[in-house]
Amino acid sequence: MTDTRVKSIDRQGLRLHPLPLRIMHWTNAVAMIIMIGSGWKIYNDEVLFGRLHFPDWITIGGEQQGALQWHFLGMWILVLNGLAYLIYGTASGRFRRMLFPIRYRELIADIADALHFRLQHDDLTHYNAVQRLLYGGIIVVAVIQVLSGLAIWKPVQFSELTALFYDFQGARLVHFLAMAAIVGFLMVHVALALLVPKTIVNMLTGGPTVSDAPARGPQSEVAISPAAAVKGAK
């Protein structure tokens, strides 16, 4: 009895991108822009790579102290929103459903297809292996970015953490490289979203309802989170 009722709610209500996820996505977008823009300004004061400076017009915060203030404001938005996302993604089964499994063969085939501009994008509710790798990978990079940021902020209080990055400059280097990976991801992500504008609409409106558990994912996760499904429907 209850089972079928839960299922019917799912049928009507579970969107590809439920409301909490959409809020977290755009919050993260704002936080990332603040962190990258202000981080570039902070970097300029002591560059890691010879002549690599970021022009002032693409940085955030004006003076150095302004950039630092923005960075340590954006930090809270990024981390709190990121934690909420990790909890939500794990508890709702979204990570398991959307990002796993990443199979080596599918990945190779999808990369080959992508390089030949043959990669199918008919079903937006299903991520191909390349998307799974990128979306899963960028979560890992973001976690590394936060950890290396903490190691730079508190190399004495968190000296054990900083030691994981070798030393203070090691943590700065990792922080820079992870930033570069995030910026690279963003460029691909935004470019592809612009190529398939429906994906942007989906991230604003919620997208198509997911009628049933997808073929590849475990069957149970939709049923175990009726609360998330109801929220998503609102």
Binding site: I42, D45, E46, Q69, F72, W76, K154, P155, Q157, Q169
Partner: protein, 263 residues
């Protein structure tokens, strides 16, 4: 449901606090809160609309940034581990000479005449007699080989020695429960730190670098050197120390750099 009856607690005063002041000023208090709330709302709105800021928006954004910075002061005070030691290094790793930084160039450093120099004491200190360099150098000496980290992102390993600040404050009868220790310098630089960081065992009033008297650009005859804060929190050419409960600010802090700046 009945209202909760006050439970007997040692933290609860037996006599209820007189509410008349609050009643009389109720309107004013509500007004202040409302104003704050409105300002907060405007500020949050401004944060999401970074483009097209006008002057009022910019002031609102500034007040949010400032509020977050002082919130971060509090967070850092909580994160501070009083007994946790900063990593130390060997003499072979020491960089000589240390790296210079001030709000002016190294060529503009005005050497301190140690003959006329005195360390003045002020504020919540019992024995405010000034100290000469000679007297200070006779105090027990502590050596620190620790990493100096600048807010700009550079660092080097330095070897500093001088009297432990906690021992010095105890010797002159400073109120160790006060909130701040403030410094004034010969070049008009000012700075202040929180008491727990001042009492950390790796905080010293340094007179020597690599076992030699500190040279002029690096703070001769006396500078603060602590393992738990960024470089700009460590004034050079100190001329006075004050222990106080009134927030003293500082040269860079007043321009928007984070006050606690612990590492």
């Amino acid at each position: 449901m009945s209202a909760r009856t006050p439970s007997p607690s040692i933290f609860r005063p037996k006599r209820v606090i007189d509410q008349s002041v609050l009643e009389e000023n109720k309107k004013l208090v509500e007004e202040i809160n409302r104003r704050k709330l409105l300002r907060g709302a405007v500020s949050l709105g401004a944060l999401s609309l970074l483009t097209g800021c006008d002057v009022t928006d910019r002031a609102a954004v500034q007040s949010v940034l400032k509020a977050v910075s002082s919130f971060n002061d509090g967070v850092q005070a909580v994160l501070f581990r009083p007994d946790h030691l900063a990593p130390t290094f060997t003499e072979a790793e020491v960089v000589k000479p240390p790296r210079f930084n001030a709000y002016y160039e190294i060529t503009e450093v005005k050497p301190v005449d140690v003959g006329n120099w005195k360390l003045e004491l002020a504020g919540l200190i019992q024995d405010k007699r000034p100290w000469t360099a000679q007297q200070l150098s006779e105090l027990p000496e502590q050596e620190l080989i620790v990493r100096h980290i600048c807010v700009e992102g550079w660092d080097y390993i330095g070897q500093w020695s001088g009297v432990n600040l906690r021992q010095f404050l105890e010797r002159v009868g400073a109120d160790l429960t006060a909130k701040y220790v403030a410094f004034r310098c010969a070049d008009d630089y000012t700075g202040s730190i929180d008491m727990p960081s001042a009492l950390h065992s790796q905080t010293i009033l340094a007179m020597k670098y690599a076992r030699e008297p500190i040279t002029d650009p690096f703070g001769f005859p006396l500078r603060l050197r602590m393992a738990t804060k960024l470089g700009f929190k460590q004034p050079k050419w100190i001329t006075s120390i004050e222990v106080t409960n009134v927030y003293p600010g500082g040269y860079w802090e007043d321009q928007g750099f984070n006050w606690f700046s612990g590492i």
